[in-house]
Amino acid sequence: MSTPATTTGSRADSLRRRIRRPNLPKPRLPRRDRGLLKQEEIVPWSLADRIGLAAAWFCGLLLCAIAGSIVIYMLVRGLQYLSVDALLEHPVSLSTTQITGTAGGYLDPIEGTLILTALGTLIALPIGVGTAVWLSEYGKPAGLARAVESGVEIVAGTPTIVLAIFGLLVFTQGAFGFLSFKAEGGAVFGRSFLIAGIMMSLIAVPLIVGATREALQSIPAHVREASYALGKDKISTIRRVLLPASRKGIATGTTLGMGRIAGDTAIVILLLGGTSTLEPQGGTPILGTLKGTGSTLTSYVYNNSPAGEGNAPEKAYAAAFVLLIIVILMNFTVDLISRQRSDPWAR
């Protein structure tokens, strides 16, 4: 007699539980006050949730504060030592400073940064766009495409100091003598703008491949077909339709790559020869500079920081400020480009 009664009771309970909203925690109100939905819905957050929320706020604000303090600190310190003269003067070594009494500027490092960035980008652009076009539009056989993809990923993941030491290993071989110059004994020096530029391009290539490929893949298939339907072949479709349509992606990847090249230090220190001024090799005006050695803002900052040999922190602050401005400007450019509508055919 009692057994069926309890079963029906528990069934009714379970039914009621199912009807109730499952996500709400068990109300603490007495049963008779159930009807007061308002009170039932105000359930305080658990302690863990509150701590989580506070932590999320804190992390976000902390990052803002760090970014802000970098810019402000560099701005204050940089502007303090920055002068127009310094921007337009050649650097001099510490010993010369002691003799002549002039501090010297960082014209050569700025030029070096610009030359190296331009060189690296010029080499990386065709390689990156070509790889992306092959991966996106051809990509056959599939095994080769996978190999190319992993190759790009490996290059992207290699630390630049490893790229630099590898470059030194390769380009000191006799066959690459034309890229730098030969020392008296006939050994290849293996350090020049050309060589540093080639290795720098490897930093930018994966970024350009990624952005270009994404842009190509976002072009709908019917746009390609529309070109074929007008009697065009694949090559002219790529050349006249697909590449113009992925201009924004290419520009984004390139600018990101330029920022990374301008900010890299390891390759400069190992592969640019370590002279503070531009030292052209041979008579030809432009080629001579490219085959010669020099410095960039990054190596200049390193050398003049308390860790380097120059130990002239005020110069390092100013140069670091100039570098920061260049890289921030590039990142803003990326933002501007990628904010525009990327898929005009989407409706």
Binding site: D233, S236, P244, P344, W345
Partner: protein, 306 residues
């Protein structure tokens, strides 16, 4: 004191009430009254075409065409002709092979790696497989469902098909007459005359689609394939494009794929009804819509399924 507002009507849900059950529409069996009234409603709609003008000439002939994707047949042994001076509409439910048939006519199915094709298609008596595919696609133009102008100026879009590959690129001045003629034929010249150098993707959807038609016309095709050209457009643009189809059909053979039966009725001279890859019925628009021979056609045309 202002006048009291009427309270909004309150909908009460009464739990113990009997639910209202709407009778499901009866399956039309092809002979019932509803079928006749459905077809009658369609036939009484205003029609754009007024019979054929000019002489009708056979342009393309499809003979026992079969297309399969990875062995799965999409079009099974379809034979029909495409005539100049006529608009041929391909109708049928989704996935019945209309678009595949259309894409076979300019060999765009060849782009799909898994597709295999059997049977023959000829244009002016020549097998399309024996013609250079570039040449074929210049003779058989195509407009797609989504307006897809290229990311360049209006002028360059129309001139795109005219420009040869590689070294010999004709100058703007040399191309201008043909570009303007194509825009004129597509009824777009007046609207874009002053800004031919503006980016084409800034045009409205309807203008973009007419630009795509102009782009195809510039190459001088003999057959124009339209793959649901109005399904992404508003009614006004649709109407403009239908008028355009009417004006073009005298010089060009037009094949249009459409899901819109009213549209097929408005513009088509000849209708092919396809179902699951088969060509069920092919004939005069008046006959297919007014007195369909096959049961399936009757059901589809009267809105029984699809």
């Amino acid at each position: 004191m202002g006048p009291l507002k009427q309270p909004p009507p309150v909908r009460r849900i009464v739990v113990d009430d009997e639910p209202t059950i709407v009778e499901p529409p009866k399956r039309s069996n092809g002979t019932s009254e509803e079928v006749k009234s459905g077809a009658a409603a369609l036939l009484s709609a205003p029609r754009k075409r007024e019979g054929r003008r000019g002489h009708v000439k056979e342009r393309m002939k499809i003979d026992a065409l079969g297309v399969a994707y990875a062995g799965k047949p999409a079009v099974k042994s379809v034979s029909l002709t495409v005539n100049q001076g006529e608009v041929l509409a391909l109708i049928g439910p989704s996935g019945c092979g209309k678009t595949t048939l259309l894409r076979s006519l300019n060999r765009l199915v060849d782009q799909t790696p898994t597709a295999t094709r059997s049977g023959t298609i000829s244009i002016d008596g020549q097998d399309v497989d024996l013609i250079d595919v570039t040449e074929l696609r210049r003779q058989v133009g195509m407009v797609f469902q989504q307006p897809n102008p290229f990311p360049m100026s209006v002028f360059d879009n129309v001139a795109y098909g005219l420009r040869e590959r590689g070294s010999r690129r004709p100058s703007r001045v040399a191309l201008r007459p043909s570009v303007e003629e194509a825009l004129e034929r597509a009824g777009l010249l007046e609207e874009v005359q002053d800004n031919l150098m503006h980016p084409a993707l800034r045009l409205s959807g309807g203008q973009q689609q007419r630009l795509c038609i102009a782009r195809s016309l510039a190459v001088g095709p003999e057959v124009l394939l339209l793959d649901e050209p109005c399904s992404a457009l508003d009614p006004r643009s649709t109407s403009l494009i239908e008028e355009l189809i009417m004006s073009l059909r005298e010089e060009i053979a037009i094949v249009i794929v459409t899901h819109n039966l009213q549209q097929a009725y408005r513009v088509a001279d000849r209708v092919a009804f396809m179902y699951l890859g088969d060509l069920v019925e092919y004939g005069d628009a008046d006959q297919v819509f007014g007195a369909p021979k096959a049961k399936r056609t009757r059901e589809y045309v009267s809105g029984g399924f699809g």
